[in-house]
Symmetry: C2
Subunit: 209 residues, 2 copies
DNA sequence: CTTACACTGTGAACAGTGTTCACAATTCAA
DNA sequence: TTGAATTGTGAACACTGTTCACAGTGTAAG
């Protein structure tokens, strides 16, 4: 599989575009999102601030691209969970992977959580219901796992509460725990790994009857 | 009960301090948090920008105060849930009230959720375990309700997963759902009220065995 | 090879931001 | 009435995102 860009010009373009994004990501990781400025990005990659506008329409566009990249990385760290696990275990480990990412990259997680929930852009019911063929997408992973749980009889569909609703609730739980724990609540002395696991297990259990 | 401030001077001080905060809250509600600027606040209350520094050390201090005020309001809309309800129903309604606030005041909720999770500042285990006497605090409401559920036998304590952990998980679920639904996910056509209720019920159910 | 032309990068400028500070005006107590 | 403390201000500073005319470069056509 080759890159779609042909000419040297386009390759150079694509490269500095990536440089801009990587610099932005570094700044966020090192100094926090509020320190992200066009001038700092430009300084790091030896350009003038104005030059960035040859690659992005605005700072917001850069922020958006960074969000997408960070979301992609979060998605990657979810795909490492072996999909061969039994449904319940798989769901629990998905949630734990989500929390691990938030814990390992707090700045990035805070960043994307501030601007948007790290989820695929447009979720419609039809789109989701045919998502079994989209293996890479992180929300699809969750959706399919829920569906599997239903098929096996571990989860029970209720009125107005089917696969999509369960998947969203599960995502909400993971996201909420991640937000809570990447903020000042890390101070409370408790065994987070165990507690988190228990919370996921309980929730799944509760969806089963 | 009289105000603690005595002299006319102190009363005037307190009043313009409130004016500043109210202006800030209005701006956030009307134009969004990113439009909040000291100059706009000053314009609205007929002061120069520099004058604000007689009442607050920095913009961050104003933001902090606004956060506290918004958190207080969120807490108020949780206290309307009658504490006489049976434990499970009470917990569900508490969560629904949280979501209702987020839905009714999306800008304010987004604002506090961006800067901090809307929770009391310092939560320690000891502090929580003697919180039965702090009726007003919203997290204490949740904590006590969980405790009641345990006492009645509806919730089961597990290793490393007692009252505090359950309360935090429940808060995380509500917060996560609120964040998800105040973002672009409101587009998905589904019966949110029913789905949310079901999610809370399932979660509580799952903590019961 | 030379002539066009599109592309790339820049410095300077603009309007906006949070913040500071010397200074004037006011309020208040002695 | 005097004196000090409080209150408010305009001007300035350093920063931000953004625009734009301009110079230099790369590329493709004649």
């Amino acid at each position: 599989m080759k890159t779609a860009t042909r000419t040297p010009r386009e390759r150079r373009q694509e490269r500095t575009r990536q440089d801009i994004l990587l610099a932005a990501i570094d700044i966020i990781a090192e100094e926090g999102a509020e320190q992200l400025s066009l001038r700092e990005i430009a300084r790091r990659i030896d350009y003038s601030p104005a030059a960035l506008y040859r690659h992005f329409d605005s700072k917001e566009a850069i922020v958006d691209a960074v969000c997408n990249e960070a979301t992609r990385r979060l998605g990657d760290s979810l795909t490492v969970v072996p999909e061969t696990l039994p449904p319940v275990e798989y769901l629990v480990e998905l949630g734990m992977a989500y929390l691990r990412f938030a814990n390992d990259h707090p700045q990035h997680f805070r960043f994307i959580a501030t601007w948007r929930v790290p989820m695929p852009e447009d979720i419609t019911r039809e789109q989701m219901e045919q998502a079994a063929d989209n293996p890479a997408d992180p929300f699809s992973l969750l959706y399919r796992a829920i569906q599997r749980g239903i098929d096996v009889g571990l989860l029970r569909v209720k009125p107005n509460y089917a696969t999509l609703e369960m998947a969203l609730s599960m995502w909400a739980l993971a996201h909420g725990m991640a937000v809570l724990q990447t903020q000042r609540l890390g101070k409370i002395p408790m065994d987070y790994a165990r507690a988190n696991r228990q919370a996921f297990q309980d929730f799944i259990k509760g969806m089963g009857d």
